[in-house]
Symmetry: C2
Subunit: 250 residues, 2 copies
C-alpha cells in the first residue's frame, strides 16, 4: 500500500462542488470513479478543501491509498486520459502513509474576482461576478485591512457551519483593480464555511459606499453573521495557491 497525493485543477461550473452528493456530479465523485477504474480497486480520495458548487480551483489537493504498482508520478498522466476536460491532475506523488491534507500545516490563497463595468464580458462570465454598480477599490482595500491577523470570524461564517472555534488567521488580504476586474486575494491557514464569499460580499457593500471601511471593525467585533454583507456568488471564487509546511504545491 502507498499513499498518493494529487494536485487537482478544475473548472467548477458544471459541478455540485467537491464533496460527493446523492444528486449531482462532483469533483470527488469523478476522481473516485476514474481512479477506481484505472487502478482496478475501490478508491476513495480524501480532499483538502471541500469547495462549494461553482467554485474553481487551480491547485486543490487529494490523497488516496492504493496497492497498485503504477508509479505514483505516472498516475496523473493516466488519470488525465480519463477525466473530463474540466478536471485535470497537475501532479501526483507518493507521500507518507499518515499524510492527511486537512491535518497538516497549510496556507491557502483564494481569489474572488469581480467584473465591474457597464456590461458583463462573456468570456469572463464563468470566472467572475459581474456588477455594474461603480465600486471604489481603494475603500475596499481599506476595509480589507481590518481583517488581517488572528480574529474571531464568526460574523463571516455561514450559520450552517459546525466549526467548534470560529477563530482563524488571515495572513494577507488585498484588493486590486486591473481595468474592469477587481481581484480580492486572501490568504490564510484555514477558512470557515463561506468565509471568503462573505468577506467578498461585505467588501462589495463597502465598495458601493453603503458604509465606510471602518465599519469592518464593528462587523468583526459583532460576532454575528447578520452584521456582515451577503455571501457573494460562488463562480467568482477560485482556490489559486496551496502551501504545505511553507512549501508551494504545484
Amino acid at each position: 500500500m502507498k499513499r498518493v497525493l494529487l494536485v487537482t485543477a478544475y473548472d467548477g461550473t458544471r459541478y455540485h462542488g467537491w464533496q460527493i452528493q446523492p444528486n449531482g456530479d462532483t469533483i470527488e465523485a469523478q476522481l473516485n470513479h476514474h481512479l477506481t477504474e484505472l487502478l482496478s480497486e475501490p478508491v476513495a480520495v480524501i480532499g483538502a478543501s471541500r469547495t462549494d458548487a461553482g467554485v474553481h480551483a487551480l491547485c486543490n489537493l487529494a490523497v488516496f491509498d492504493t496497492s497498485s504498482r503504477i508509479p505514483a508520478e505516472k498516475i496523473s498522466y493516466a488519470l488525465n486520459q480519463r477525466l473530463p476536460e474540466d478536471i485535470r491532475i497537475r501532479r501526483s506523488m507518493e507521500v507518507a502513509p499518515d499524510f492527511h491534507p486537512r491535518r497538516v500545516e497549510s496556507e491557502k490563497t483564494y481569489e474572488y474576482v469581480i467584473f465591474n463595468d457597464r456590461f458583463p464580458m462573456p468570456t469572463r462570465r464563468l470566472y467572475s461576478y459581474f456588477t455594474y454598480y461603480a465600486l471604489d477599490e481603494s475603500q475596499m482595500q481599506r476595509g480589507a485591512e481590518f481583517l488581517i491577523g488572528v480574529h474571531d470570524f464568526k460574523s463571516f461564517c455561514s450559520v450552517k457551519s459546525e466549526a467548534e472555534s470560529t477563530v482563524r488567521e488571515i495572513t494577507d488580504l488585498t484588493v486590486e483593480r486591473n481595468g474592469s476586474e477587481i481581484t480580492i486575494r486572501v490568504s490564510g491557514k484555514g477558512f470557515l464555511y463561506n468565509m471568503v464569499r462573505i468577506i467578498a460580499g461585505t467588501l462589495l457593500e463597502i465598495g458601493q459606499g453603503f458604509y465606510p471601511p471602518e465599519k469592518m471593525r464593528d462587523i468583526l467585533l459583532a460576532c454575528d453573521r447578520g452584521a456582515a454583507g451577503p455571501t457573494a456568488p460562488a463562480h467568482g471564487l477560485t482556490l489559486v495557491r496551496y502551501r504545505i509546511c511553507g512549501l508551494e504545491i504545484m
Copy 2:
C-alpha cells in the same frame, strides 16, 4: 430610418462563427433574431469581422438600419435582456446612414493565447490553446518581427480565400510570456482568411525549435500556403481591440 452601430462581445465556444449558416447557431443569427423581435421589424446586421467558429471577441462591430423610435443608445440594454449570456452588446449608437464597418479605415488587434505547461488548466481551456511542448517565446518574438510592415501574406492565407490581393499591413506583432501563458498580439488594418491563426501556427513551430526565427523571412517570400505552419485552433483566438479612423471603439 437610422443606422445603428453595435459593439458586441462574445464567447465563441458554442457558436459556428459570426456568419449565418444553414446548420448551427451563429452570432449574426442571434443578433438578427433578437433585434427583429425587439424592434418588431425584419433586421439584418452587417458585421465587421466575420470571426470563425470558436473564435471569441471583446469588441466586434455590426450595423443595422431601423425605423424604430427606440433611441439608439438604449438598444444595447434592451437587447442584452434577450440575448444569451455568452453574447453581450457593450454599446449601441447612431452612425451616419452610409457608415459601413468593412469599408471604413480600421485597425484590429487579435490575441492568440497559448497555455504552455505540463498540463492544461481547466479554467483556461476555452480561451487558450494548450501545448506541453516547451516553447521559447524569445525565438517566437524574433520570428514575429519579420512579419511587421506591408507584405504579401499569401503564405499566411487559407487556400479557401477569395481575396483579390494578399498584400496586408501588420502594424504590430508581439509575443509575451506571463507564467504558463504565451500571448501573441497582432494588430493590422485588415487580415486575410485564417491569417492570424496561420501566423500563430508558424510561431508555434519556431517556439518548438523546428526551424530558426530567420526562416520566417523565407516563408513570407515563398508566397505559398504550404511554406507556413499549420492553422492554430480557433479557440485560442480573441478579437480584443477595434479602432476606426484612429478612434478606439469601446
